[in-house]
């Protein structure tokens, strides 16, 4: 029972991070029908920038809270700039191209960003400076650190904020209108180029937050970390129904739980044949399962034959 509760808690933490990243995929897909495979790299860049800034200021005597805040602010700014630039130079020229072209471009952008990161930060793993408080508490026999509580709370706050932005503001209405029908939205005075840029910028800001969370939670960052994380967040977005904001949140949390519970019990289930390092297979079982049995996702609209 302790293991079960522990895995649920771990799943929620992992799921919150997946959800933040999945939102980036789903928002861009919702607005322009593009799967931005470079999004995982934006998360990686967020983690790297945050880590670098925190390392730089580590011995400055600033309180931990401020260190994290500066790291996050720097990561968010850089990621927003990266997201904005990707859209401008890689996707905008292909707005009217066949669907496959921007998809391939996205993979190309992903490779470029990975290699840029490797040039800047090297091939080594970077350890997160040991600044974080290690206080933890016990709930029903399971352990959770204060950092992990913060991760879940901050992720929840960001998602609530995003929901308000999208459902309650002029900008959010313009985003939804653009997502339903860009040419009609234009006739209402909506500048869709602006809306698309804005969507990339918000998605990238969420990615920066997720990047800091991942590197802090696992105490490590690496130029290649965005690949698997991006793929899993994409799976979460598909699971919830790509293009659907609430779906990305639900899909993220669910995927986190599935992975975590799967990893916790896979040893017992296979008689020790497979260990918890096989955690990754669950995400892809889910992806294949969803694509085969319910391509529109749990709460998604029916999607057409977009690539």
């Amino acid at each position: 029972m302790d293991i079960f509760i522990q895995q649920i808690i771990n799943g929620l933490i992992l799921g919150s991070i997946y959800a933040l990243v999945a939102l980036g995929y789903t928002m861009v897909y919702g607005i322009m029908g593009l799967i931005n495979f470079a999004h995982g790299e934006v998360v990686m860049i967020g983690a790297m920038v945050a880590l670098s800034v925190i390392k730089l200021l580590e011995n400055s005597g600033l309180p931990v809270f401020l260190l994290l805040l500066f790291g996050l602010a720097a990561a968010a700014l850089v990621c927003m700039a990266v997201g904005f630039t990707i859209e401008r130079i890689a996707y905008r020229p292909l707005r009217r191209a066949p669907r496959l072209a921007p998809l391939i471009t996205a993979i190309g952008v992903s490779i470029v960003l990975q290699n840029l990161a490797m040039l800047i930060w090297g091939r080594n793993y970077h350890a997160f400076p040991p600044i974080l408080p290690t206080t933890s508490m016990t709930i029903f026999g399971a352990t959770i650190t204060s950092l992990q509580v913060a991760i879940v709370l901050i992720a929840a706050l960001m998602m609530i904020g995003l929901m308000i932005l999208i459902n309650r503001t002029r900008l959010g209405r313009a985003m939804r209108a653009t997502s339903e029908n860009p040419s009609i939205a234009q006739l209402m005075g909506v500048n869709i180029n602006q809306i698309i840029s804005f969507t990339f910028v918000i998605g990238s800001a969420l990615a920066a937050v997720a990047g800091l969370m991942v590197s802090a939670n696992y105490s490590i960052a690496h130029y290649y970390m965005g690949f698997m994380l991006g793929l899993k967040a994409f799976t979460a977005a598909v699971l919830g129904g790509i293009g659907n904001i609430a779906g990305a949140m639900l899909g993220g949390i669910l995927l986190g739980l599935i992975e975590s519970l799967g990893a916790g019990y896979i040893g017992d289930l296979t008689g020790g044949f497979l260990g918890s390092h096989y955690q990754d297979i669950f995400a892809f079982f889910v992806l294949i399962g969803v694509l085969v049995f319910r391509p529109s996702g749990l709460i998604g609209e029916k999607v057409s034959e977009r690539a």
Binding site: R170, G172, R173, R176, A177, E180, L187, M188, G189, V190
Partner: protein, 256 residues
């Protein structure tokens, strides 16, 4: 009353080898209801699309309220004061009726990223004003009771009304209606006619594409007839109705 709001000068538009519009010139005066009729495929909707910036004309220019409209982006056309509805209704189907009209306010409001994040007084007030104006417009077109329903769940006639409310929300100088009576029964068409007359009384110039000849002839101050992409006639309804070229275009000539 007599100065011109919109002047289309020698508009041409080709799709591949097909000429959709050839040298179409027409002038719409401030405050009038101007009808544009013609057989199917005559180029009426193409003209609308050029007018609202969805298509770029291959030739000619459009002068609206004293300034040329050519090659401007659609979202700027809205700000300049042209709004339209569509022959096949194009609402934001998964947004509520209220939200559809609120999107229409976009062209006349300003809150941006900062406002959305800070939620300052100006943004809050603007949002309230947007909502209030949207409510008024839903009342105006008589569908206030459907405000919170998704657009796709509205009846056909209500969807047409909603589209008009959304267009009015952009505060147009010129409202272009593409076959607003299509699919409506007699009573609904009567209501529509009252609505359009009311809109004109509020000072908005109306451009009306319509197949319902009775409606056009009864409502419009002047009518232009397109046939195979060319304007063949432009005059007051009683003259247009008896023009031999128009009769030929509509009836194929054999009965003229």
């Amino acid at each position: 009353m007599s100065h011109s709001l919109l002047e289309a000068r020698a508009i041409g538009k080709n799709f591949g080898g097909v000429t959709a519009l050839r040298d179409v010139s027409l002038t719409i005066k401030q405050g009038e209801i101007y009808g544009l009729i013609g057989p199917n495929g005559a180029g009426k909707t193409t003209f609308f699309n050029v007018l609202t910036g969805l298509y770029h004309p291959d030739g000619g220019e459009i002068v609206f309220a004293g300034e040329t409209l050519q090659a401007s982006a659609p979202h700027k056309v809205a700000k300049r004061g042209i709004a339209r509805t569509f022959q096949n209704i194009r609402l934001f189907a998964n947004m509520t009726a209220m939200e559809n009209v609120m999107v229409g306010r976009h062209a006349r409001t300003h809150a941006g990223v900062l406002g959305a994040v800070l939620h300052d007084r100006r943004t809050v007030n603007e949002e309230a004003a947007i909502r209030q104006r949207a409510e008024e417009l839903l009342h105006y077109v008589n569908i206030a009771d459907r405000a919170d329903d998704l657009a796709r769940n509205l009846s056909y006639g209500d969807q047409r009304r909603l589209e008009i409310a959304r267009a009015l929300a952009t505060e147009p100088k010129l409202l272009a209606l593409d076959e607003p009576a299509a699919g409506m029964n007699g009573a609904e068409t009567g209501d529509l006619r009252e609505l359009i007359e009311g809109i004109r009384k509020d000072g908005i110039t109306v451009l009306l594409i319509e197949h319902d000849v009775k409606l056009v002839m009864g409502l419009c101050d002047r009518v232009a007839v397109l046939d195979y992409g060319e304007k063949i006639c432009e005059d007051i309804p009683s003259v247009v109705q008896n023009d031999p070229k128009v009769i030929e275009a509509y009836l194929g000539g054999s009965l003229a």
